[in-house]
Amino acid sequence: MSTLSYLLSRLLQIIPTFLIVMVIIFLLVRALPGDPAIAMADAKATEEQLEQIRQRLGLDQPMWMQFGYFVKNVFTGNLGDSILLKAPVTQVIIERLPASGFLTLYAVLFSVIIAGPLAFVAALNRNNWIDVSVRSIFQIGLSTPVFYIGLLLLTFLAAKLRWFPVGGYGATFGEHMYHLLLPALTVALYTSAIIMRNLRSSVIEVIDAEYVQFARAKGLPEHVILGRHVLRNAMISTVTLLGLSIGNLMSGTLVTETIFAVPGVGRLMLDAIFARDYPLIQGLTLTFAVLVSIIFLLTDMIQAWLDPRLRVS
């Protein structure tokens, strides 16, 4: 099966889910008491502005046609105006996405760097004190709430010791790396605990596998066995887990953006919810749905790339 047809078939699978999400969002706004146009508008909106909104949403039309308008608006990027920020929702979201994206990627990078080597070390030293200490540290990490870690890092490394700035985003790439280091570390701590556990047990499972024994029987040097045979095979389930944990990552990002005042979509969502800014909530929800679906798709593709057995149609 060619890559293109695989991609298309996976995209087709996402569509029903996405449709349901759109329906739910659509109905939620309509379910709010009162005139949907008022809900979607600033409290101080003029009658003229309200009329514009009614037009855009097609409120005078039957429900199913309204949904049609809704879908059309979504696909043309017309998501209305944010009540809170008084700017088009689409624009606001696009402005804030880079910071969150940067933070997420940074956090994933840290997670892998922290969890990867330690998982190997723990697996190869199974059940001795090294293994137990590594697992204990990560177990504590799993029990620690993200906001707590963030708060502690912020207080001690930024506010008190002044090694890092107290939040924000910075202007250049270098500044981004600097400002987002603590936030990325905060999100990474939890994620790396999840990865470490999975990778460790994968490595343990793989290292006694028949094909590793066979590789040893071939007289291959140990670094080839570990690097080529063990790592690749152990990695697969962990990569999948990482992809599926994107929801978890996003939750962590949301909280972290709040604590470190990072101008990303996570914090935006929180602000929007508190302010009852429905156009923004709606837009952000759709954005999340799209992003997560893309990540799931990417995860599938990476899995297939890593494991040739999955490529059979």
Binding site: S143, P145, D208, G247, S251, F274, F288
Partner: protein, 283 residues
């Protein structure tokens, strides 16, 4: 070769799992947490809400083990009293989700068909979103507060239990005894609840233990954000939020409740791991 050898292990070693230090520590933590949650007044030296305008923002001392806050309240007592709320959280936030999830999951897994197809799409739609975001959204609609928080978590969380239960039930259906039940003319309900469920429930129980630890994390996060328990109620997340403004000068206000969260969460997950090891088939 190795697995062949491991199958020769005697059965009694299964119970040895329970004697492992990790599990015992977890049980100890859980046990003491529950005691503290049930009898806070026995263990808290001070009234958690008593203002004391003399000893404001005192660091930890012999009299105030965890120091005092900006209103003179004893932090140690507040952390102890918070056990009631947070431990309660672990159970209430999970048990309803579990009940609903197990019921729906069993029915959907057993009957399959259209119900299953719809269920699948619903699950996909909900899981697409970060759990925290959904819960916050629901709480935003309902308004902040502990009860609304429980409703929100249950509303979102049942899906995970249902999905797990469905998978287990479908796995069990492949076993012969399920078909045997049908042949013998048992009612569907009887088959589901008396035969399939007891076998399928084990992974759900294991997940439940992990979920309780997660519930405490989630609940305290919401408390911190002002969406769960409300100040002046003593709840760990709330306490941390209250201490945030004084964190550089009175660090103990936020640090101590956080340690309580970590320790308690650890207790639940250690016990959960032990139970998981016990339930896991050998070999």
């Amino acid at each position: 070769m190795i697995s062949k050898l491991r199958r020769l292990l005697p059965h009694s070693s299964q119970l040895l799992v329970l004697l492992r230090p990790g599990f015992l520590v977890g049980v100890a933590i859980l046990f003491s947490s529950i005691i503290l949650a049930l009898f806070p007044s026995t263990f808290a030296p001070f009234d958690p809400n008593a203002f004391n305008y003399v000893d404001l923002k005192q660091p930890p001392s012999a009299e105030h083990w965890f120091g005092t806050d900006n209103l003179g309240r004893d932090t140690f007592s507040r952390v102890i009293w918070a056990y009631s709320v947070n431990i309660q959280m672990a159970f209430i936030a999970t048990i309803f989700a579990l009940t609903i999830g197990v019921t729906v999951g069993s029915l959907v897994g057993y009957y399959g068909g259209i119900a299953d197809a719809i269920f699948g799409r619903c699950v996909d739609a909900i899981i697409t979103f970060p759990f925290l975001v959904l819960v916050i959204a629901v709480v935003a609609v309902l308004g902040p507060g502990l009860t609304n928080m429980y409703i929100a978590i249950t509303l979102v969380g049942w899906v995970y239990y249902a999905r797990l239960m469905r998978a287990e039930i479908m796995g069990q259906l492949g076993n012969d005894y399920a078909a045997a039940g049908k042949v013998m003319g048992y009612s569907d309900a009887r088959i589901i609840f008396r035969h399939l469920l007891p076998n399928a429930i084990t992974p759900v129980i294991v997940y439940w233990m992990t979920d309780m630890a997660l519930a405490i994390l989630l609940g305290s996060s919401l408390g911190y954000l002002g969406l769960g328990a409300q100040p002046p109620q003593a709840e760990w997340g709330v306490l941390i939020a209250e201490g945030r403004n004084f964190i550089t000068t009175a660090w103990w206000l936020s640090l101590m409740p956080g340690i309580a969260i970590v320790v308690t969460g650890l207790g639940f997950s250690l016990v959960g791991d032990g139970v998981a090891d016990l339930m896991r088939p050998r070999g």
